[in-house]
Symmetry: C4
Subunit: 220 residues, 4 copies
Amino acid sequence: MTDRRDGLAGRKPACGDHERDYTRTVSSVTKTRLEAFSDGVIAILITIMVLELRVPHETGWEALAPLLPLFLTYALSFVYLGIYWNNHHHMFHLVDGVNGAILWANLHLLFWLSLVPFVTGWMGENHFAAVPTAVYGVVMLLAAIAYYVLQTTIIRHQGAHSKLASAIGGDVKGRMSPLLYVAAIPLSFVNEWIADALYVAAALIWLVPDRRIEKAIADR
Amino acid sequence: MTDRRDGLAGRKPACGDHERDYTRTVSSVTKTRLEAFSDGVIAILITIMVLELRVPHETGWEALAPLLPLFLTYALSFVYLGIYWNNHHHMFHLVDGVNGAILWANLHLLFWLSLVPFVTGWMGENHFAAVPTAVYGVVMLLAAIAYYVLQTTIIRHQGAHSKLASAIGGDVKGRMSPLLYVAAIPLSFVNEWIADALYVAAALIWLVPDRRIEKAIADR
Amino acid sequence: MTDRRDGLAGRKPACGDHERDYTRTVSSVTKTRLEAFSDGVIAILITIMVLELRVPHETGWEALAPLLPLFLTYALSFVYLGIYWNNHHHMFHLVDGVNGAILWANLHLLFWLSLVPFVTGWMGENHFAAVPTAVYGVVMLLAAIAYYVLQTTIIRHQGAHSKLASAIGGDVKGRMSPLLYVAAIPLSFVNEWIADALYVAAALIWLVPDRRIEKAIADR
Amino acid sequence: MTDRRDGLAGRKPACGDHERDYTRTVSSVTKTRLEAFSDGVIAILITIMVLELRVPHETGWEALAPLLPLFLTYALSFVYLGIYWNNHHHMFHLVDGVNGAILWANLHLLFWLSLVPFVTGWMGENHFAAVPTAVYGVVMLLAAIAYYVLQTTIIRHQGAHSKLASAIGGDVKGRMSPLLYVAAIPLSFVNEWIADALYVAAALIWLVPDRRIEKAIADR
């Protein structure tokens, strides 16, 4: 990817005056590979989760009943990873260049996301028992924090007139979902279903893609 | 991916008058990453299915005999996922831009496809018992419906003069394969082989790539 | 990927006369996604094979001894898959466009390659017993035939002045390796080590990338 | 990927004099696919490692305690693979073309990296016992040597005025980390914690991306 871009960038714009694009293309070399790597990791995570759904040895309908909680948790985690892919994608629309700090903030996010299959399996196989339900929330909270750190790192790199900063504005959703996880963790020990309802709610508020960022892209 | 395209789009066409291409390139930013993500998920699914073929502990030919039904089911599911990749690919030829609804309709399709390794393992390991055979059909039916929903969402987004809508026309194949699954599900309880024959038939009618869409692309 | 290329192709060549490139770019849309998909599947196969190397429960050096045959088989299969990736890659250098027959010939090749982790595990875990050693050769033979079918399908599509046909010329290597597998399969029942030696030999003759094709590319 | 680049390269630079870029673009065809393949393999490795974290059957906090060493080892290996991806990425910034030797040197590196999930699981599940801790170092040492071989192969291919050679200069880090592994392997038998501390140290010195190479890129 890299070099072709360099090739394009190396050509003086044909009949043009687009010096700014020239610079942006060079600095986004790294971004392309970072996006491809992140997409790869998220695609693998969303897919290997299904390996936790072990094939039963029985052949009747009753063989599927114990798998139901695992199936529901799998569907929830699938939606969560879909949301992260979607938001990651929208966020990087507004990113021009990438530095070492952004690379590592991104790997940090991927690390916590990589634990999603584990907590999905633990919560699902134990029919939403208290501790696994709480641990699911802990991993989700850490992933949300990692996403926030990544966003902040990008904004700091972009400087005073950060396109991302102006696009996300008040960031209501970004602040609400961690609060839901913080509430769900202790509530898992009161009643697992309350925690589960909060996890579903946290997914639902993100299902709509971020119109603020979409708007900022359209405005460019 | 994103930014490079922006970079290309940002350059006024060198000596040209291709304003329309300019717009199309910008809106297809998201499409590129959606295609890459879908390809990644389907590539992983088609590959991890083989993990269900567990290595036997014995070393004689007879160790392979119980694996035969699983092998045949694996081959069938491999063809199905190949068909989905192929059709997905052809469909997105005629897509210019992607919105939030299309993103989620696509993830919805990937969700049902992600259950293919599970039902493949269950049907294959149980030598085509009735319930697993029926459940295989249910997942195939839900994937076919998800594909139809995705197609409809794209056509709605493209509006009145949808290139995709005019390309698919009467869509005989798209309507036949769900009917075959609907027939196969209850017939699994009469005789599994009838259901299996219908699954093979549903794969065979799709093996030929969609000439209508290929034609529409060639006509552009 | 698709659309961007269309976008590039849609621009009349800036100050140029490269009509031929225009056409070639349009028809290679599908090729790009086919290459990416094949790379994805081969990357996954080469990586999940290592899951057959199960972590031992003991902690001494002696825990590694029974893993040695599996490790050696893994290394052999890693080299084989690396060769297929390499040759696939070189072959598609000389491919301009892709039709439905090529798509399915390619999936057919990927199908047999997807069985490599299974036969690697079976041969490796059973310390090169006769039947697993023979079955390893059968899968390798079928993959080699599938590669030959793919090559032939591309040449037929390219027509009389096929660049690929003139590049591969006599194709000594392509004819030698299937012969080695054909010899190894029955010899597995005489002495497994003869078969293993033939598999290693078949890998070694391919280790050098295909200079004929490299030359043809350089000559273009 | 290939052909599009050819398409771009085939166009005479619009109003330009960038013959050198023309050549570089053609020769970097192979590089693009090599980078994508390497990214794919590393993304899969970094993700399937988490499959070693098996879901416990118990539901209490105590079920997580035995997983702690595995979790810590997983985090360490995640950082290592992230470092390799990062460094691989920076190194290939300074690579224009790829030959057969570079392709195989790269596959050789990926081979040793593919053993990281195995040694991670063995060291983690056995709470840092002596032999698994030493074997972890052996695999890390072999991967470091493979990286060095790859670097040397690229420099030899680039010839006298190698951009990579001048960028890496004295290469202090590249020489320090193998020394740390060489020290850690025997020290595993004295006290595992010393070896573990050395592994963590070897990761920490690499965490900062290679500013020499970053500088060389900026200087171009």
